[in-house]
Amino acid sequence: MLSYLLRRILLVLPVAFGVSVICFLLVQIAPGDPLTAIMPVDATAEEQAAMRAAYGLDKPLPVQYTIWIGNLVQGDMGKSIATGRPVAGEVFGAVQNSLLLAASAAVIAFPIGIFLGFLAGYFRDTWIDRGVTALSITGVSVPNYWLGIVLVIIFSVNLGWLPSMGAGPGGSQAWEWDWAHMRHLILPAVTLAVVPIGIVARTVRALAGDILTMDFVQALYAKGMSRADVLRHVARNAAATALSVMGLQLGYLLGGSILIETVFNWPGSGFLLSNAIFQRDLPLLQGTILVLALFFVAMNLIVDVVQAAIDPRIQRT
């Protein structure tokens, strides 16, 4: 197991390198001057050049990359052009908030998805199955950013039940697990949960359905197991794959929450990213994408390792 772990980690390194190159290049393909957005509109060319030099943007690309990666391994992701604050701090704070949101969405989505999927898989080709399938297709088909707006209008503006934006009365830094804060989570988390509910339900349905047609299920009945026992076996068989799908979904939730975070003004990584894009804040853009992508890579790694740990069929050496 240990050597499996090591090998997986080793395999991650080139991917991480590739990710860093892409993140770096991403901002190089960007047209226009990154400093435009933060200079006063009537700043002179000379002032701009000085600023550019101050940010090291006047050096050749490979040099910029080397400097960037060098700083990076020391935990320094540069400073935001727009705010001057260290990117690392900004990104980690935001990723924490996104994680909170993504995890909440996962907490909503996964149990519902699993339950619905199992139900549909077990009652395959019945009206229950069709109902769940319809529900999950609807879930993956709805543009969630639009759903978010609709929910805000209904539950915040018209009914006034839930807040429409923000991470609680005191902002994300004063986050606490009380109702005053958690009610801020509800709408964005629910909105974000809709797609993974659909995906998890479909996955689990297919898994459960497939496993139920396997020979060993007959063998289980043949040795006198009850329905509940058989379902336990099915669940155990589906667990590894389902978990890995859910792990990846968590990654997608984190990386894909940008639209929802903009709609709900949630101070997460997506919100940060959209600010970075509109302010053409390159270091921030780089940093955010890099951290999210690396997080996703790590998530993949964890998923793989967990999958290997719970699924005896996977080669662990």
Partner: protein, 349 residues
């Protein structure tokens, strides 16, 4: 027009005495990757120094336990798997500069075990049969295909435009045979070609194979694990164990006397067919060992009743029996110089 008209195999070159195919020291190791860096950690010694030859018009049967390298040998013969070492000589020409792979494949064709998997599910029967002829640039491939289909007992009018899943197993195996013959090969390698068929259908296909052999003067290499079938169709039998040839002999000779202890066990493992004389004791214990780390010396020594110290270290060579030089066996018991306590005595009958 008889079916024979369209059958124009490549010209015989070396005359009847020249073996149609001879194989020397054929070797194939498959790497097993693993470890932290995914480097090759071990090798499956699937085929390790196999040599034999097949005379023109002869049928050679190959038997052995699962995983002993029968299919790999077959694929090596036709170049589907690249050999690590060894030489393949087809009618006097070694595969290499003088004989290209494409030419070799014109002379050697193969029928696989799984009749369904070997047919492209998106292709009609006719197209599948005609494909090889088309590739080899033979003229009028469709007509050839139809004639051959007729010859193997499939009415072209009814079957030409069908897809594999619309056929029964026996019919599909006929298609496979027709496809192999479409290129007018001289040697057909049949890898478990009848194993998946029901007994009654198997008999039909075996009849067909015998007919075709006579009609077209084919040479067969027939791989099977059913000794009865091998015996029925073959002239000589080659026994493999863990990638090596342990015994090769004319069928009657081996039926009378299985010289190698492994061959003996294999034969004793056949169900008896006599209710009054059922098998008493399993001739071999356990499963065949893993070809990743085959035992040293004689690879069979771990399961052999007659094994002695030499067998662990010394690799036996294939040598003719005293009674019959055409019956060759790789066992220290038959080699007077081997140093085995019972060297030269053979196994008791």
């Amino acid at each position: 027009m008889s079916a024979t008209d369209l059958y124009a195999p490549t010209k015989d070159k070396g005359g009847p005495a020249q073996p149609l195919i001879s194989v020397r020291g054929l070797k194939k190791y498959f790497p097993v990757r693993g470890g932290i860096l995914g480097r090759t950690q071990a090798q499956v010694q699937a085929v390790d120094g196999v040599s034999f030859e097949v005379a023109k018009g002869e049928t050679l049967g190959i038997v052995g336990e699962s995983g002993c390298g029968k299919s790999t040998t077959a694929k090596l013969l036709i170049g589907l798997t690249e050999k690590d070492a060894g030489e393949i000589v087809f009618d006097g020409f070694a595969l290499g500069p003088r004989l290209s792979l494409k030419e070799l494949r014109k002379g050697v064709q193969m029928v696989f075990q799984d009749s369904y998997a070997t047919l492209n599910p998106r292709m009609t029967i006719e197209a599948s049969v005609a494909f090889g002829a088309k590739v080899q640039g033979l003229d009028n491939p469709e007509a050839r295909a139809r004639k051959l289909m007729e010859r193997v007992g499939l009415d072209p009018a009814r079957f030409a435009h069908r897809y594999p899943h619309e056929l029964s197993g026996g019919q599909r195996q006929r298609v496979n045979i027709a496809r192999a013959l479409a290129m007018s090969p001289r040697l057909v390698v049949l890898d478990e070609a009848v194993s998946a068929l029901d007994k009654s259908v198997e008999a039909q296909v075996l009849n067909l194979l015998s007919d075709l052999r006579k009609e077209f003067g084919l040479t067969y290499i027939f791989i099977s694990h059913d000794l009865n079938v091998v015996r029925y169709i073959s002239d000589r039998i080659l026994v493999m164990y863990l990638g090596e040839v342990v015994e090769i002999a004319p069928v009657d000779s081996i039926w009378e006397r299985q010289a190698h202890p492994y061959t003996r066990s294999l034969f004793s493992a056949m169900p008896s067919m006599d209710p009054d004389n059922r098998t008493k004791e399993p001739p071999l214990a356990g499963d065949p060992p893993n070809p990743i780390n085959p035992p040293s010396g004689c690879r069979f020594h771990t399961r052999c009743r007659f094994a002695s110290e030499v067998c662990k270290s010394k690799v036996p060579v294939l040598g003719g029996l005293a009674v019959n030089a055409g019956h060759r066996v790789a066992c220290h018991l038959y080699d007077a110089q081997s140093g085995h306590p019972k060297a030269g005595q053979g196994i008791p009958a």
